[in-house]
């Protein structure tokens, strides 16, 4: 079977090389049939990648430890669901997943868009082929999952921290996001190469971009939830380089999803949009590079391997080729209209874009700084959480404000008076809320207070928009309020889906501010019978238990919790120590959620002493559960915005058929 896997990868490589070279030649020379065969080769490469992937999955599920990769990432007693996900537990499998997803969605995007952008497609195929060539080349030459070894008695097992439901979904979602950003990149570059730079490539890729962006966003939040519950340090986001690696392309693609609306409506920001697409793609590659190269001190950098140079080379190549192509097509990308006012919807989108990209670039600077400083001074220098927190506040707060203001500003030109009338109600609600918070003692953190106030402004503005729209639909003859609401959202899914996503971000901001600015931490060493107080909770150590189950020893501190003097049950926090040699212990935190306040009591059994005492670290994290709620709302909004809309398609088709194709002068 390893032979079949290797052969499938070599065939896949040959097919994508053909798609890239023959497709490129066909595009330059206008050979349609050759172009079709290149496209078919791309589709066939998916079948080859799928074959290779099935071989690897088969090896994991049947504990075929002759595969070095399986022996290093699985063991005979690994539960089936984790044997399935151990596929991407290491570098080789992750790269194969990249290749599989890329050839799958690349083929699907090419096949589904062959009518809309038939004149751009001859270039899309070779670009997708070239990207796939890189990954398959690395898989075949440097980092094959099909290397074999004399069969050991048992495998090394899967990292215990990856044996978690969140880790089943988190890595593939991030990969779907990273790989998904290849689609808008390939179409944008193909539009430039073919000189068909009208708005059709945006229409062709909008849902693909939205889907990739949604996967990245949900993937980041799932990772945060995993870190919160499993890593158990009391926080949810630590500005780790690998967390940042996913955040950067998400921020840039967020900017892109906003600025495409300006291009669609006004024909502006055309250069900017192709720059954003190229930047998002390069950052997605950079993200994979950071995760897999181990160049930085990061708890994630367990894959200290030799593929770093390959990735760096490919990122430089992709960036250089994109820049060259964009520069060579600048004359074709001139805006058809100019911005008329700094107070307009398009200006609001521009501000939003600048803040998002500035934030992404400052994060990039922070992540790359150790490498830059080592190259220049010979000593790595790192920036910590204060650096990122500063920029998250400096760029984040204006972004939240813009999220509330933007949808209320008219396109083209808005008078300050009309804007004032639109903003008055949500602003009054937010200010009243902010004043209330000051009296409630939230003024200790000015940034937190402003964050809360802006987030409430956004939520109030969104509720008002929904209310106004629903009222208008009802006035137009809808029979009931729910019908009016459904009709409102159904008729403009993109807009109202976007509002729902805005509401999710506002919830996330409230949750992040809650845990970031207003959490309480206490550390105490308790002997049985002793108690500690944190905010309005009292925790009394009832005793310590030491249970041996199947493959581990479970040490637990059992604590009786009272809140405001009322008994509130028990929690158990501690550690699991695994018997298998080499297995690392795991931190088993106790989390007690107050759903009404969205607050967590978070208890870490940090150290179990020989005298029976326990070092406990206790957090009260206010509003933290709004972060997870935001994930569901975010997904809902994205699905609404992505949902196929025949009316919108007809509108776009009508408009685009009238749009003059921009050809070479």
């Amino acid at each position: 079977m390893p032979g079949l896997g290797r052969a499938a990868l070599v065939v896949a490589l040959a097919l994508v090389v053909y798609a890239a070279l023959a497709g490129g030649y066909a595009a330059v020379k206008g050979r349609r049939r050759l172009g079709d065969s290149a496209r078919n080769a791309l589709v066939a490469s998916f079948v080859a990648c799928l074959t290779a992937s099935l071989v690897l999955w088969g090896a994991f599920l049947s504990d075929d430890l002759r595969f070095t990769y399986v022996a290093e990432h699985s063991s005979r007693n690994l539960p089936t669901r984790y044997a399935f996900t151990a596929f991407w537990g290491g570098q080789e499998g992750s790269l194969l997943l990249w290749a599989l997803v890329l050839t799958a969605i690349g083929s699907a995007a090419v096949l589904l868009n062959r009518r809309l952008v038939s004149d751009v497609l001859p270039w899309t195929v070779p670009i997708l082929g070239a990207v796939a060539t890189f990954f398959l080349l690395v898989l075949v030459v440097v980092s094959s999952p099909f290397a074999t070894t004399p069969e050991p008695a048992d495998g090394l097992g899967l990292n215990t921290s990856l044996q978690n439901p969140y880790m089943i979904a988190h890595p593939p979602l991030l990969y779907l996001g990273y790989v998904g950003l290849t689609i808008p990149f390939a179409f944008a570059m193909a539009a430039l190469a073919s000189r068909r730079v009208d708005e059709r490539w945006l229409v062709a890729t909008r849902r693909w971009t939205l889907a990739a962006w949604t996967c990245l966003g949900v993937g980041i939040l799932l990772g945060a939830k995993w870190a919160y519950e499993e890593v158990g340090w009391g926080g949810w986001y630590a500005w780790d380089p690998v967390e940042n690696a996913a955040l950067m392309p998400w921020l840039v693609s967020t900017a892109f999803l906003h600025s495409v609306m300006v291009q669609e409506k006004k024909g502006m920001l055309r250069v900017w949009n192709v720059i954003l697409v190229a930047l998002a793609f390069c950052l997605a590659l950079f993200g994979t590079f950071l995760t897999r190269s181990g160049v930085l001190n990061s708890i994630h950098s367990f894959a200290e391997s030799s593929i770093g140079g390959w990735f760096l080379g490919f990122i430089c190549l992709a960036a250089a080729a994109s820049i060259a192509l964009i520069v060579s097509r600048l004359p074709l990308l001139r805006s058809r209209t100019k911005m008329e006012s700094l107070v307009s919807r398009e200006a609001a989108f521009l501000y939003n874009n600048l803040f998002l990209v500035a934030f992404a670039l400052t994060v990039l600077w922070g992540v790359a700084w150790p490498l830059v400083s080592e190259a220049v001074r010979g000593i790595q220098t790192t920036v910590g959480a204060p650096y990122y927190d500063f920029f998250a506040i400096a760029f984040g707060l204006p972004l939240v404000l813009l999220m509330g203001l933007g949808p209320l500003v008219a396109w083209r030109r808005a008078s300050l008076r009309s804007l004032g009338a639109q903003v008055a109600v949500p602003a009054a609600v937010a200010v009243a809320f902010g004043i209330g918070l000051v009296f409630a003692g939230a003024a200790d953190s000015p940034a937190g207070l402003i964050g809360y106030t802006f987030a409430v402004f956004v939520l109030a503005a969104i509720v008002l928009e929904f209310a106004r729209g629903t009222h208008a639909r009802k006035a137009l003859g809808e029979t009931s309020w729910p019908a009016a609401f459904a009709s409102l959202v159904g008729r403009n899914r993109r807009r109202y889906g976007g509002y729902i996503v805005h509401a999710a971000i506002a919830l996330l901001v409230i949750g992040a501010v809650g845990i970031g600015a207003f959490h309480t931490t206490r550390v105490a060493t308790l002997s049985p019978g002793e108690a500690m107080t944190v905010e309005d909770y009292e925790l009394r150590l009832v005793g310590v238990t030491d249970q041996r189950v199947a493959n581990r020893e479970e040490l637990r501190a059992r604590l009786a919790v009272t809140r405001d003097g009322d008994p509130s049950g028990f929690v158990s926090a501690g550690k699991n120590r695994y018997f298998a040699p080499g297995e690392t212990p795991s931190n088993e935190v106790a989390i007690r959620t107050d759903w009404l306040r969205a607050e967590d009591l978070f208890v870490i059994g940090d150290q179990f002493n020989a005298d029976g005492s326990v070092v406990l670290k206790v957090f009260v994290n206010p509003l933290v559960n709004l972060i997870w709620l935001a994930g569901f709302v975010f997904l809902l909004g994205s699905v609404v915005a992505m949902w196929p809309d025949a009316r919108e398609q007809a509108r776009l088709a009508r408009r685009l058929s009238y749009a003059p194709a921009v050809r070479e002068a």
Partner: protein, 137 residues
Amino acid sequence: MASRRIPVRLVVALSVAAALAVFLLYTSFAGGATDSLRPSQLLAGNYAGKEVQLAGIVKGPLAGDPHAGGLRFTLKDFDGPQKVEVVYMGSVPDLFAAERHVYLRGTLENGTFVGEEDSLVTKCPSKYAPKADGEPT
């Protein structure tokens, strides 16, 4: 009112300038970055009393209590014999053990590296990915 065209480039340039100003403001007030060193670099340079990040391999014996008096161990260069004594207070990651790759923030005081509370981070053990030759950074 006559319509006045706003050049996008001007807005972009002004915004970039504003962002740079914020950046300068930050570096002026909040200070710069922290050097990330190996034991040999820490001992060779003039770092006494300066906050740095130290990375290396944990060598035993591990002694003391991280919550009372401090956990004591030695950190060794990844690729050399140089070592430095470390004393650390705060939470110890689950993966912490002798021979693990760790990093922590702190200052060099009288030849001993005094770790900052809760700054100790352990890299995942290399059993999950065979190390390439050379030094992991």
